[in-house]
């Protein structure tokens, strides 16, 4: 588990959001399976060397979003339907990345057509169409 999660405290992104993001990503990619146990808040805070309340906040948020469920005395586990949410989670992650990319393109002054052309080029590279 520690190898899966890393956080960058020097990033402008709050640590708890980074943890949430990474847990969701792990679930979406199948790295975290349904029913798999997460480390305790205390253990994760020690492993990541971050404040335990930050970890607790991340877990609370993940629970609120129904990605994990916490049973007192037993621990925190990935919800089975948390896994089922993966397509939606993947879509969320994808949307966030594309939004950031487009915002950046606009910030450097690219126009709509230029941006679309660039997008098509990169798309082709990453999702090549079958050659006939």
């Amino acid at each position: 588990m520690p190898a899966v999660l890393t956080v960058d405290p020097r990033s402008g992104v709050p640590i708890y959001l980074q943890i949430i993001e990474q847990v969701k990503r792990s679930v979406a990619l199948g790295v975290l399976q349904a029913g798999e146990q997460l480390p305790t808040v205390k253990q994760l805070s020690i492993d990541l060397t971050v404040n335990p309340n930050t970890v607790a906040r991340a877990y609370r948020e993940l629970e609120r979003e129904q990605v994990i469920e916490t049973t007192p005395g037993r621990g925190s586990f990935v919800r089975p339907d948390g896994v089922a949410e993966s397509p939606r989670v993947a879509a969320d992650i994808g949307r966030a990345a594309l939004t950031a990319a487009l915002r950046e393109a606009k910030a450097v002054g690219l126009g709509r057509d230029e941006t679309r052309a660039l997008f098509e080029a990169v798309l082709e590279r990453w999702f090549p169409t079958e050659s006939t």
């Binding site: 405290p9 990033s11 640590i15 708890y16 020690i46 335990p52 930050t54 950046e104």
Partner: protein, 304 residues
């Protein structure tokens, strides 16, 4: 121990106000970081908290009551400079702690001293600055205290030991104790602290949860085609904490609503507008340095 409240604290040394009206509430079971430039008053705040200095005005309350001698059983303190007795060995310091504090764990202190590589047979004068800090840290963390007050606990320590102190602080928080510390190592504060306060020239300039500060505070940056532009009162928005201008670039530090303000800025003719995240170091630097301009600009009369 529940909340520690600092109310309107004032402390003067001669004609200099070291602490000039600071009010803080430090909740329990958390790690609270106090940041500030040198001479900002952090050490003075700690001294007032421990009755090592008498405030000129204001009060500090532990669980609603002023500090009394028995409370020291539950508070551990690591000062900024070495206060060890030069002529005593580390083992004698250990014995002194053991006799003075009922909850002192000699075994744990011994373990910590070993982990920091401090030879307990040596006299304090024979130890380097880092070793002395490490010894003081070891004694403090062996106290099982509910509140740990650490003034620059990593001063003089090598990176390995710095990380070790960090882990100790996080461990204490995980055990339900409170850690209040000041540090110039912003990376450490970012990891360990849940809440921070930034002090500058004796005054509190910023306070809050680290995660919230990072989430809410952004820089909205706009680049204009030339130096003639108006901000149309955007800088007067309550959410704009500060405006910095250099030539054709405007940076607005916003405390909330970054996207909305970015939209408005696009509307004023900026060619490139973007929203930048801030890490704690950025937040700190912005909080303690003066703005390069705070008012709306009017055409070419303004040369920066």
């Amino acid at each position: 121990m529940s909340t520690i409240t600092i109310s309107n604290l004032h402390k003067r040394y001669g004609s200099v106000a070291a602490v000039d009206g600071v009010t803080l509430e430090i909740p329990t079971s958390s790690v609270f970081g106090i940041l500030g430039p040198n001479g900002a008053g952090k050490t003075t705040i700690f001294k007032c908290m421990l009755n090592l200095a008498q405030p000129n005005a204001g009060a500090i309350r532990y669980e609603g009551r002023p500090l009394s001698a028995p409370l020291f059983e539950r508070i551990a303190y690591v000062p900024e400079r070495s206060v060890l007795y030069d002529w005593m060995t580390i083992a004698e310091h250990l014995e002194m702690n053991r006799r003075a504090y009922a909850t002192f764990d000699s075994g744990r202190a011994g373990e910590l001293l070993e982990q920091f590589n401090v030879d307990r047979r040596k006299r304090a004068r024979a130890l380097s600055k880092g070793m002395r800090t490490a010894a003081m840290v070891a004694f403090a963390f062996a106290r099982n205290a509910e509140v740990l007050i650490l003034d620059e606990p990593t001063g003089g320590l090598d990176p390995v030991n710095q990380r070790h102190v960090l882990s100790l602080m996080i461990n204490e928080a995980a055990r339900g104790n409170s850690v209040i510390f000041s540090s110039h190592q912003i990376g450490q504060v970012e990891r360990a602290a849940e809440r921070i306060a930034i002090v500058d020239r004796g005054r509190l300039v910023l306070e809050g949860l680290v995660d919230d500060l990072k989430a809410d505070r952004k820089i909205v940056e706009g680049i204009f085609p030339d130096t003639r532009f108006r901000l149309d009162g955007i800088a007067d928005d309550a959410r704009v904490a500060r405006t910095d201008r250099t030539e054709r670039i405007v940076r607005l530090l916003v405390t909330a609503g970054a996207d909305e303000i970015a939209q408005r800025l696009s509307g004023t003719g900026a060619t490139a507008v973007r929203v930048l995240d801030l890490n704690l170091e950025d937040i700190f630097l912005y909080a303690v340095s003066p703005a390069t301009a705070t008012t709306d600009v009017i055409a070419e009369e303004r040369v920066l």
